[in-house]
Each structure stands twice: as C-alpha cells, then as structure tokens.
Symmetry: C2
Subunit: 442 residues, 2 copies
C-alpha cells in the first residue's frame, strides 16, 4: 500500500499506519539520541520523534540540521499518544528538508508588541495567533451559514461613497481621478464607507432580508484597545421587523456563532485559555434587556458619572458588563447620541427604538442596531440637525416613498466580536494585518 499523505487534523484516521505530513518545524529539542520535533502543518500541531536507533544515519543527520521554521516532508507511523493534544505522535521513518530556515527572529524570549506587529507576517505562525485566526474563520462561517439558513441574501454595499452617514470627522478621503469635466483639475472626491447600512436598506425591498459583510474604515483618533482604522463589519437589514424582533435576530445569531465556535474550535479556545463555561452559558439565550435610562441608573450605582442623556462610554460599558454573565441589550438611547435614521420611540419622542448589544465580562459593545425611521418628515428633521444635506440622500428618502415598510437592522463589529469570543485584551490581534493610525505595515 502506498503511504498516504495526510494532515495533522486527519491523522486519527490513520492510526498505526505510515503517513506523510508536510509542514514546518515549529519547535525542537534533542536528547542527543532522540530529536523531538514539534511539527505544524496549518491544520494543527504534532510531535515527531526521530530516534537514532530507528532511522537511517542519513535521516538522523538531517534531523540534526533542521532549524525552527525549516520546511520538511516527514514520513512516519501515526502512533496514538493520549497525552498529546492531537492524540497522536509521529514516529519518523524519513525526513526530507525543503528549505533550512534562517535564524528565526521570533524566539522564546519575550518580545514587545511593536516588534511582534512589525513581524506580523511571521508572528501569525505562533500557536496563539494561529488559534485566533481559526476562530475568526469559524465566526465568519457561522455568520454566513446562519444568515443563509434564515433566508438572508448577501448584498455587497459599496465602499466608495459620496455620503457621510455617520459624520465626516473620521472619514478617509480618496481623490477620485480623473476629472469629470473639462477645465477641472481632478474628479470628485469620495469617502470610504463607514457602514453599508443605507445601501442595504434599499435592497430589503427586493430581497426582504439582506446583509453585507466587508471592510469599513474609520480615521479613528482614539488609540484604545478597541479601535482599528480598518475593520470588518457585518450589517443585516430586515423588512417587517420591529426593534424587538431585531434583538431576537441578534440573540439567535450570537448563539449560532458561539455554538459553532465551541463545536469547531474547542482546542483553539483552550490554547487561548478562554473560560469555556462562560461561553456555554450564553447558549441559554434570554439576554437581559435594559433601557438606556435603567442602564444609566445602574451605572450611577456603580460609581459612573455618566449624564442622563449621554452615550455610554467605553468605561461605562466595561463596568456595566462586568456585572453580567450574558450579553445585554441596552435599548432606547437619547436620539441626539444616535444616527439620524433610527426610529423615534412613539412613547418618548426624545428617544429611539435602538439597541446596543454589550458582551459580558467587560468587553462592551459588539452589536448596534435599531428600527429605522419611516416617517419622511422626521428623517428630514434629524438630517438637518446632523447637518446632513437631504439632497444628497434623495435616493435614500425614495425608500420612504415607494412602498415603505417597518424595518430594522444591526451591525456587528467583527473584530470586537472576536476579541470577546477569544478573550483578548487588544483588538489588534484579532485581524491578520492590523491597520491603525500609526501602523500600515507589513
């Protein structure tokens, strides 16, 4: 029988057989007569043992030469080993070196974050960074699969936009060459979209339930643990949903995401030392709902000096969510701290039918949503208050003229979500190549 090529994640299918594994030397140590090679192949990690007494002299000599990150093709027996994370160990029969790696800059000593981010292209190979990207991948998969099951259609919203839906101070400006008219030096400028929401609102009239999922851009001056200039957002929008239905959709999606991550990435969560019961708890559902007014009262009792009609600051969100073991919804914020398109509460015209979803344990806001204003005049009034020119939003206002329906939607900040699920301090580690106001490489 020909020796089968396999991956570390599939090795249990080949118990006792000879297999071929292609990968890299993740780490190594030697006792003189035995080389212990920790092998990484993308799917997982396994220990490969090269015993002097068991292999050809040439093979053993090759094993002496390998360095950390050397690329290799190994042939060996898949031996069960209950202590190993993969449940297996590879008893090497043959070893082929593809390229001997230069001395690897990321060693065992502690490196500062700047050094690690300067070497992000290599740091991605480390076990924790590997685990984070695997979890990121499954969160993305869970979103697609769940929304697909629920009848949503993906509608890609544009990045180039002439509109400034959430204010202009944090917009990136792109000169959009060439000139459109003779005599002009350059064409019109465009902004990089900060949300696709207005665009996908247009699509609910064609498709009912829609979502987008793509990068968004914010020239965010705050250098906090929670800010990137480039990050991924998923916006969902549903016809015939009020703000309460909207929260139910968010809760159901959150449960679907956590269920899949627990199913597919338990090892990765363990690697990150994430507390599993605290994630499992969330599968129960029934996330608490507080009004903004109640949240402010609670914050006062916790020592915050938040004002009655303030937005919740990052610190407020932290101290509040440390009190809960499930995500919480905060609804009905004062209208002046939220976007113009949010529907006014019929019971209190000074507030809107919105919600933020805050993650427990101090992680803060991960979702923001609302029912959308359908009243044409109220929209115009709020636009003017926000110094937006209704002429630029004529197409959006059209949606209230041609078959307006009650509708709601929400946006998930992917990196904030990952930070929460992975239990990370800094958001920068959640994205393969982070961009901040002082980092644009590698």
């Amino acid at each position: 029988m020909e020796t089968a090529e396999t991956t570390i994640s599939q090795i249990s299918k080949h118990k006792g057989e000879e297999v071929i594994i292609k990968g890299w030397i993740h780490n190594l140590r030697s006792s003189g007569s035995i080389h212990f090679l920790q092998i990484r192949d993308g799917s997982g990690f396994i220990q490969a043992v090269v015993e002097k007494s068991a292999v050809d002299t040439k093979v053993f000599k090759k094993a002496e030469k390998v360095t950390i990150e050397t690329s290799v093709i190994l042939t060996g027996i898949a031996k069960e080993d209950k202590r190993a994370p993969s449940g297996f160990e590879l008893a090497v029969n043959n070893l082929e070196i593809i390229q001997i790696a230069d001395e690897y800059p990321i060693g065992k000593k502690e490196h500062g974050p700047e050094f690690l981010f300067d070497n992000r292209h290599l740091w991605l190979r480390s076990q924790k960074q590997w685990a984070i990207q695997r979890i990121r991948n499954e969160i993305i998969n869970a979103i697609y699969l769940h929304l697909n099951d629920e009848g949503f259609i993906k509608i890609d919203s544009p990045i180039f936009t002439p509109n400034a839906a959430e204010g202009t101070s944090t917009l990136f400006d792109v000169s959009y060459l060439p000139a459109w008219k003779e005599g002009e030096k350059e064409g019109p400028h465009v902004y990089l979209a900060q949300t696709g929401q207005l665009y996908i609102e247009a699509a609910i009239f064609a498709h009912g339930k829609v979502f987008d999922f793509g990068p968004t851009f914010r020239a965010e001056k705050s250098k906090t643990r929670r800010h990137l200039t480039e990050f991924w957002m998923m916006d969902a929008e549903m016809a015939w949903h009020d703000w309460r239905d909207n929260m139910k959709v968010q809760e159901k999606l959150t449960i679907a995401i956590i269920r899949r991550v627990l199913l597919k990435c338990k090892n990765e969560l363990v690697l990150l030392e994430r507390d599993l019961p605290s994630l499992e708890k969330i599968l129960e559902g029934d996330f608490p709902v507080l009004t903004h007014e109640e949240a402010v009262k609670k914050l006062h009792s916790l020592g915050s000096d938040i004002k009655e009609r303030d937005d919740l600051g990052a610190d407020d969100e932290t101290i509040l969510t440390e009190q809960f073991d499930k995500p919480i919804f905060i609804e009905k914020y004062p209208k002046e701290v939220k976007a113009f398109y949010m529907k006014r509460d019929p019971k209190d015209d000074s507030r809107v039918l919105n919600n933020d979803m805050l993650a427990p344990g101090g992680y803060g806001e991960v979702i923001g949503g609302s029912e959308r204003e359908t009243d044409y005049d109220k929209l115009i009034e709020r636009m003017k208050q926000e110094k937006l020119d209704p002429k630029e939003y004529e197409w959006y206002l059209d949606l209230r003229k041609y078959g307006s329906v009650p509708h709601s939607g929400f946006g998930i900040g992917l990196e904030r979500y990952i930070r929460w699920i992975c239990g990370l301090k800094h958001i920068r580690e959640t994205i393969p190549f982070p961009r901040t106001l002082n980092r644009i490489t590698p």
Copy 2:
C-alpha cells in the same frame, strides 16, 4: 387554527390553507371585477387575485387604490396553479395597505442605462436584477462552502497598503491623517489594495490553505463592459501545490459553483434566459489546457494580430473562448506580461508557471493564477525589472527565508464570474451599487 405567515418561496407547504404574505405590488392589472396583483416579497413572485364577488367591499376598494410598489399585507388561500412560476396563486381574502407608493419612476417603457443606474436603489427591485443578486449570493455561498470543505481558512488581507504589487498607474491614493512626526503636514499616504495575494501568501505558513474575499480597487481608465473601479476578488493560496495542482483546484471550485447555482437558482437563470445545457456541460470537468504559445497560434488562425509575447487582449479572449464550450486554461505566459511573483518555468526561463482561466462563449478571463517564485534572487531580479523597491517588500521576501515551500494560488474576479454565469453583456449589473470612473452614486 391561526393563519400562518409565510413567504412566496415556502407557499407550497401551505397548499389549500389560508396564509399571510407581506410584500409589494410588483405589477397589477384589472378587469373591473377582478384585480390581478403581482406580489413580490423578496423570496419570489406570485399572482394575488382579488375577486369582487369573493371579498368584502372594503377590501375590494383597497385593492382599487393600490399602486405599483405599494407595500401590503395579504391574507388569502394558497391555490395550486400549475401555470404559475411559483406553482401557486393567492386567492385574496383580506388586504392591508402599509404605504401607498408614489408614482413609480421605473415604468414599463424602455429606460436608458444611465436612468436605470441613477435609480439603482429602485431598479434592484426589478425581476432580472433580483435574479442576478440571488445568483451572486449563491456564487458567494458556493465559494465559502467549497473552500471550507477543502480545508481553507479565511485570512482577510488588508485594504490599506503601502505597496503597489501590480503597478501604480491604477492605484487609488488615500491621505492617511494625521501626521506621524512633528513638523509634518500630513501622515503617510496609503494605497487601496488591488490584491491581497502577497498577504495571504504569508498566511499559508500558519494555515496551509487560505483565502481572502473582499473588495478591491482599480482606477481603471478603460471604459469597457468588463471594468469597474470597485469590485470583489477572492484570492486563494495553497502551500505544497504546483501550478498543475493549482489548475485542478480552480476547476473543482468552478464545478462546485456552477453545481450550486444550478441547484439553487434554476428559476433565476431561466428568468435571465441563460442557456442551461451550456452550464451543465461544464460539470463534466476536463477543462482544456493550452499553452500561451498554442493560444497565440490559434488566435493567428482566427485572424488576430497578437504578437508572440503579448498578453491576450479582451478581444483575443473573446474570439478564442467563442471556440470552446468549457472554460479553458492558458498556461505559461511570457514573464514580462505577468507579475513579479510568478514562478519561472524551469523548461523556459522566459515564461512563467501561471494560468488564466477563460470562460467559454466569449466571456474571457475570470480567474488568474500561478505557482509562486521561491527563488530569492529571481524575485529580486524581477522586482527590479518592474521598478519595485525590494526594501518595501522585505516582509514578503522573509517568506523565502523561513521555511519556503512550493506554493500556488489564484484570484477570481467575482463580477466577471457572475457576468459569465448570468450571461450578461455588461459587468455593471452584477454588483448592487456599481462604481465606475464616472459613477459614484447612488
């Protein structure tokens, strides 16, 4: 029993029952005593019949008042009707008007493309545009599902990049405020990425097989049927794959995509008058492979004046692919017409181990791929020829120092792919909100 709310796509589960459908009046006609309302609810289209003799006078009067695009909630009996595309018709018992639509600007008369794109936010509701977006959605789903099955991990590549991997002439320039150093007026400029490929190459060393899928930007001056300034690309990259393996992956993915679209969107393809047998044919696989040299010879015999070492132009691709009923791979292009990172053919150092995949029937290039150069010195040589500064690519060159492996990858232009699958003349209809050098709204 309470009347069930359902969608048009699910109505067959309620044969003979009373159901509630929420939607819009897509079209209407009346015989005086019967109103025929074509209803759209996002999931599909159905005819609703309001018969004077069968309903309350008030209900019939409401049906008289509705206009095209009016939003309604209908209650009625799901009656089987074999002639209807949905297989059903709704015999209306009750009709609730949510909003009477103003006179709808997109009427039955022919509109020019500029008018339609100016009203893209409304035009998306038309049946063909609806079908195109549904197919787009399933192509996206098929890509995620297939790559996930094959063990790929999504690695989101950054949009902001200081590098210019495919030349600078078509790059968008973003001023990245604020200044980094005292005394500077503004911070460094960044470009909007045209491909994530270099970045995802870094990730194969951590994950083996990876992909990205996001918007890319090209300040493309050519106003052709095939160009947008903002479009979506999926890049895949695989360790341990040579250029032949690479073509196999592309063929398998193409078959998976077409199989899913045929399974999920047959009605939509029929609406677009797409020739189904020509798509089914592709499921056979065995896509022909021609070398660039062979392709040039064939083009000469077809009357093209392409030069021996020219890239294939759009016209060449059209006349060549009109000759085939399956996608074709063209491999081994002259190195000077392709990017610096493509691996040189060991049998002919003047050519590279690349491929383009051209769609049959004149649609031209939809995928481009290659094995990647692993030889450090050859990479530097090609960078210099392309006037790229190796210093800016140090991180990329690192990948050849620390465990270099043979690897390959490819990129799919999503909108070109959709244009082909849907059988459309212009690429602009494939994306919800197209951006070209002279369109940035709505």
